[in-house]
Amino acid sequence: MFGLDKKDTRMLLVVAVLTLCAPFILNPFPTDSAMAQFNAGYPDLMQRFVIFGIFAIGFNILFGLTGYLSFGHAAFLGVGSYSAVWMFKLLSMNVVPAILLAVVISGLFALLIGFVSLRRSGIYFSILTLAFAQMSFNLAYSVLTPITNGETGLQLTLDDPRVLGVSATADGSIPVTSLFGLEMRSTFEMVVGPWAFQFNAGYYLCALVLLAVFYLSIRIFRSPFGMMLRAVKSNQQRMNYTGLNTKPYTLAAFVISGMYAGLAGGLMASMDPLAGAERMQWTASGEVVLMTILGGAGTLIGPVLGAGFIKYFENIFSKINDTVLHNWFAFMPDGLEDFVVFIVHPFIGKGWHLTLGIMFMLVVVFLPGGLVEGGQRIAKWVKGRKNKDDSTSATKNPAE
């Protein structure tokens, strides 16, 4: 289907079902139950899952395929956000032109940065991208204040021109973002027994975009172009010796992944028309690296998993506090309960980053393929136990 083989089609369908049914899947617990805090099915969080998924997919096209580790990808996300908000200020509140402009501008920006940074590879490339991103961040904070509004961040105001729209609604407030009249924040709530499911227009826009770009990334992975990028990763020198100029390929990959980041930034601004410089800071770039590696760099589904995983646990872990912990471990004897809570305490709430850091290190050390490799290993192990009786000699899997 769609020019994909059977396996990829299945994966695309699985992702499609998961994203489209996310309001159900992420809301497994009734609203009033004690477990309701683990529900993630509210629009704001679901949007973040999907937007960071797009960001990570784009990063993976660069890092997973070519092995170029960019430490400045958040700059493109920031540029995308700024351009989208400017579109809202100047043109109209329709999200389509805003997202298009975000993609185009961040693509151009990526072309510029990529052209310079890709002259070097390895660690130098990482540091160059880091330097560029940090430079853009500093500029956004200081000199470019007329464009970026500095520390406050770019916001909509009542006296923006909005040529094709209205500066202010009839009741004098700032208009909201919409897709040809369909408000992004409009949410349809469905109550089934004790459950309440929320269907948000903005989320579904993001989800559809995610599916489109996921499909695109599958096509890129399976194309001759993707093959070329993988060749760059495995041995660039050999490529050069065979008389092939790898620069256009890596540059194309860089620009594509920059446009993905810009798309994510544009969507972010469409959901909530704000843009701040902190989105470009290098810790933000680090976050997308974490997502991709944690999920599994170089795999198709990995980055999406990683993004969802990090954003979900970030949200859940930050909400857990000592009282919640005491409730959980209430079945233990008092002394033991206090002790367990004491041990777990540093890792929850504000300590979420500590957990994330440790998890990330463990993954890099023991599981370089990320969650996807972990899943594969478990599957293999289960299969291996089943087949043990049939044949003692393990068959070698063909290398992917």
């Binding site: 990482s126 540091i127 500029l139 200081s142 290098w282 370089p368």
Partner: protein, 340 residues
């Protein structure tokens, strides 16, 4: 002329911090071939060593002093620190006052120990893996160290004062017959870093140990074949590099109140410094550190800012980009080191 000298001074103290961190980074890179993203965290830990020492020295107990009354007529509770009660008020007060320099004594073994643990426990396993993996795992480690510090010390900057005698300003211009007033501690910081840098260089240059290390940097395999346990020496060098970063952090606390992410802020710049100086070149790292510090100071002069607004924010990065593109090896980079 005054303004120029003042900017050079400004550049020197920032430059010394860059140079010290970059020196440690280069030591690790030159010996072990590992790109250490956790080096900024070591700088930060050093700074928190100073905070800890100051807190320990200030530990105190309360006594009810019958001779003094508060405004209600009750006996006043007076806090006396243990140090003061042991050494007498004068001596004890001096010790508390000099907490930051005293922290150096404690910071050295602590930092060397942390360096050993890091190298033996984690980084050892990453020699054979790609640079990207090394970057990633040390980046993860940096996050963990940062969060641990945040857990114990909170997220707010902690003010740490320099000794009373060194906290004022001095007229440095008097030597040249000019009038330049400058904080004393920053001058101390500069001289401190010069001493440390000189110490490291002479250690490498004039001791047998240093000679072996330099030989190992040039050709690790051959040195190993000569029957020298080069790995152990490199581990020790890692500890020393960690100590250098830590000391830079200890002495920096009075200049800038330490908070848990100060390391990350310095790290990005130090990487730029290392790249500009040339990967694996120790003199390059020091030279580039001071050079970029001074450049940054000049760029933040109002006269220059009025011509090129915002140049002070980006000058270092612009210089780095220009250098990388025109002299990919950096200012003093050696041939064959990280050519790829």
């Amino acid at each position: 002329m005054d303004a120029i000298l003042l900017q050079i001074l400004n550049g020197l103290d920032k430059g010394s911090a860059y140079a010290l961190i970059a020196l440690g980074l280069t030591l690790i890179f030159g010996t072990l071939g590992v790109v250490n993203f956790a080096h900024g965290a070591l700088f930060m830990i050093g700074a928190f060593c100073a905070v800890t020492v100051q807190r320990i020295l200030n530990l105190s107990y309360e006594v009810v002093d019958e001779t003094q009354k508060d405004f209600l007529g009750n006996a006043l509770k007076v806090k006396t620190s243990y140090v003061e009660s042991w050494f007498g008020p004068e001596m004890g007060g001096a010790i508390i006052d000099w907490a930051v320099p005293i922290a150096i004594i404690f910071a050295i073994p602590i930092m060397i120990f942390i360096g050993f643990v890091m190298e033996r426990g984690l980084i050892k396993h990453f020699y054979k893996r790609e640079h990207a993996d090394q970057i990633l795992v040390t980046f993860g480690l940096a996050i963990v160290l940062q969060e641990v510090i945040k857990y114990f010390y909170g997220a707010n900057p902690i003010q740490t004062a320099s000794p009373e005698a060194l906290s004022g300003v001095a007229n440095v211009g008097a030597l040249f017959g000019m009038d330049i007033v400058y904080p004393v501690w920053r001058i101390v910081y500069f001289f401190f870093s010069v001493v440390i840098i000189g110490g490291i260089f002479s250690f490498l240059q004039f001791t047998t140990f240093g000679m072996v290390v330099r030989a190992g940097m040039a050709d690790r395999e051959t040195v190993g074949l000569l029957g020298i346990n080069i790995d152990r020496r490199f581990t020790i060098m890692f500890g020393i590099a960690a100590a250098v970063a830590g000391l830079a952090g200890v002495m920096y606390t009075p200049i800038n109140s330490p908070n848990y992410h100060m390391g990350m802020d310095f790290l990005v710049l130090s990487f730029v410094v290392v790249v500009v100086g040339g990967m694996g070149s120790l003199p390059g790292a020091v030279l580039a550190g001071f050079m970029l510090g001074i450049l940054e100071a000049f760029a933040s002069m109002n006269e220059i800012k009025s011509i090129l607004p915002g140049i002070d924010q980006i000058i270092i990065y612009v210089v780095a980009i220009i250098i990388l593109l025109t002299r990919p090896r950096g200012l003093m980079g050696r041939k064959g080191v990280m050519e790829e």
